[in-house]
Symmetry: C2
Subunit: 414 residues, 2 copies
């Protein structure tokens, strides 16, 4: 998948350890029955960080989310470490919060920090008790193995049905200093975020105030993760958190302005790429679908329209079958909930193989089925909606609906 190139930002290696002062590790502790699969991960900052986070708006919230929220409140928005496991979501369990707090204590003890400085997250099956013993048994080795090189082990530890590790990082200049911002994400199914998505950990050595960090995260998540849907199911354990340790030595970004915009753009590029990776690696997916909605009256309308299209099971099935079914796209626009004049809408389908207009002024057009099938045969598709009722653009990302989505989810727990 292509990275969006932009002057002033250079993509670098290192994931969550690309930023100075961050170490990570991952190991197999035994939650997963596959002994080759990492299931426990850790991130550590050599210096105390300002932390910002957004969470799922699902009323059923994973116990780790509740504990992380309490911790960040107790620490006044500071954090130094992340402890995270896969295979078990530690959600809908009577002793869930107790276990999540245990994980913080176990990590804090090894790292010689307070448990309140630990962000805890879990992902996997909901409603099954989390065994704490495997974590307790492996925490010492996990912490001892922390290093700048082990970002990949950590990225692997958070994978569930993901087929690829998701890491990306950029470097950029802020107040004359070189800063780095990188992250990792997991997610493949149960993805339809609202205010956050799946597990995402972002680290930066830029100095940014807690307030501006939270503001940047909210603004960027709105146009990246919250414009992503794999299957319409909003997870109970969604979380995006950003840790900023300030080691780069720039003057702290503490207000809106040029520096804030520079930082926010770095965050955007990293979250954008992770969002696209999540969509492309949606459960069973064979294609990335990007829907671009242009000439909308406002941002919310553009997002709502684009997201409705990439969420439609019928559109997703048609894209799997390379079928240029413009009626389903118009149908999804019509029920999206935004007040649109559907009689003005143009729809174009595009990929590396070219583009084709399939709908003009709200009506289906005659087009070459052969050309359409060639365009839709590619692995990265764009659905371009022009509303012709304003000047705002937004994008949303999703994937096709395939036999394998059903196969993966017909028997996920075993």
């Amino acid at each position: 998948m292509q990275l969006q190139q932009e002057a002033g930002y250079e993509y670098i290696e290192g994931g969550v350890c690309a930023a100075a002062g961050f170490l990570a590790n991952g190991c197999h502790c035994g939650l997963d029955s596959n002994p080759q699969k990492n299931d426990l991960g850790m991130i550590y900052s050599e210096r105390l960080c300002n932390a910002a986070a957004v969470y799922t708006t699902n009323l059923v919230k994973g116990a780790p989310i509740l504990v992380t929220q309490k911790n960040l409140k107790a620490s006044e928005g500071k954090a130094r470490a992340v402890i995270v496991n896969s295979k078990n979501a530690n959600t809908c369990n009577a002793d869930g919060e107790e276990k999540a707090w245990n994980m913080c204590e176990l990590a804090a003890e090894q790292l010689k920090i307070t448990p309140e400085e630990v962000i805890v997250a879990s992902t996997g099956v909901i409603g099954q008790a989390l065994p704490i013993e495997p974590i307790a048994l492996h925490i010492k080795d996990l912490a001892a193995g922390l290093s700048q090189e082990h970002h990949t082990q950590a990225a692997e530890a958070i994978m569930t049905t993901d087929t690829i590790k998701k890491e990306v990082a950029v470097s950029f200049i802020l107040g004359g200093k070189t800063c780095r911002l990188g992250g990792m994400a997991k997610g493949s199914g149960m993805i339809h975020p609202n205010m956050a998505t799946t597990l995402n950990f972002i680290t930066t050595d830029a100095a940014v105030s807690a307030k501006m960090l939270q503001q940047a995260l909210r603004e960027v998540v709105k146009v990246t993760y919250n414009c992503l849907s794999v299957d319409g199911d909003m997870s109970t354990n969604d979380m995006v958190c950003v840790l900023a340790n300030g080691i780069a030595g720039n003057d702290e970004v503490a207000a809106e302005g040029e520096s804030y915009e520079t930082f926010k753009r770095a965050l955007y590029l990293v979250l954008l790429h992770l969002t696209k990776m999540l969509a492309r690696d949606g459960e069973g997916a064979t294609k990335l679908i990007e829907c671009t909605c242009t000439e909308a009256p406002d941002l919310d309308t553009a997002i709502t329209a684009a997201k409705s299209v990439i969420s439609s099971s019928l559109v997703k099935s048609a894209m799997f079958g390379a079928d240029a079914n413009c009626g389903r796209i118009l149908c999804a626009l019509g029920y999206c909930g935004a007040q649109l004049d559907v009689s003005k809408v143009d729809v174009e389908l595009a990929s590396a193989k070219g583009s084709i207009l399939v709908c003009g002024g709200g009506n289906g057009l005659a087009f070459s089925e052969e050309q359409a099938a060639e365009i839709l045969g590619e692995e990265e598709l764009e659905i371009r909606i022009n509303l012709h009722q304003g000047n705002v653009t937004a994008k949303a990302w999703g994937c096709d609906l395939t036999y394998d989505y059903v196969k993966i989810n017909a028997d996920y727990r075993s």
Copy 2:
């Protein structure tokens, strides 16, 4: 599928012709490439009817919907006939309304009524011009073949990806007179109604005022069709219409009261069964899923919660795989949008093979996987949600998500 038995109501044969004075027919006119498949249908009443209808709330509305709305306005809520085709939705076409009006004129000419007394409907592919010639060529024979026996031909004419014809009828006593109410429906995919669903034609010989007919339809649709989802995609052509010709000779039902309730219950039983038939015949479905939400604080909450569960792709996939994944059910409750105390919720899975409690007080419970798999191996499943926060019950209906749903929709147009 079992009919819901109820004292005072007897299920009878005859579909849309079960009520006295209604005739129907269906034929193959050539819109469908399969010469064995009826694609044009007609219903006719010997006497002018009071008509009530509810329509899709999709902003993209099929041209037949717009024309039917105009006709019922012009005729002050009276109608005598229905003309309907499958294979082409006549939606998102520049000449759509003109063609829909042509269909009314063609039918009216044969039936010697005014075009405004005709209800017109189309279902099928969106965004392709409707050829009117096949309809014009066959309208005479279609009208000439109208009979009480041909309700099945009409029911077949509205099928698209449906695998079974959907007809049901009841008889009941109203004001001392025997009345009949029957209907037919089509629908399999693009089903997630709001105020109406897919194509549904209901006929009755009971005398009911236009106002009470509309009120009964709205009330019943709220707890039947609007609690149905196959794939979350709300169609552009949804319509439920009821024609009441009064031939039974009862005193007209013109206000709320006992007669109104008796009539409404007949309408409920017919729409309930058609709703369940639509769910069971959802595209690719192998199982009917009924979600019953009890002890809710109000009806809207109960409906919202039940509908969220049966709409979840993850729940639907799990049911296909007979996997008792209670976490996904709780997850779907958590994002349904209603304000629930999820810590009180019990979840039970049931079928003809028994029932099993999988969640108590918002937490997952230990249960026999063997027993759960046996229960979920059946073709009709019930998910019982007890919210423990009120005394209102509602149901919603859906189906499992299968490989065949994807197969059917990856290449629907060809």
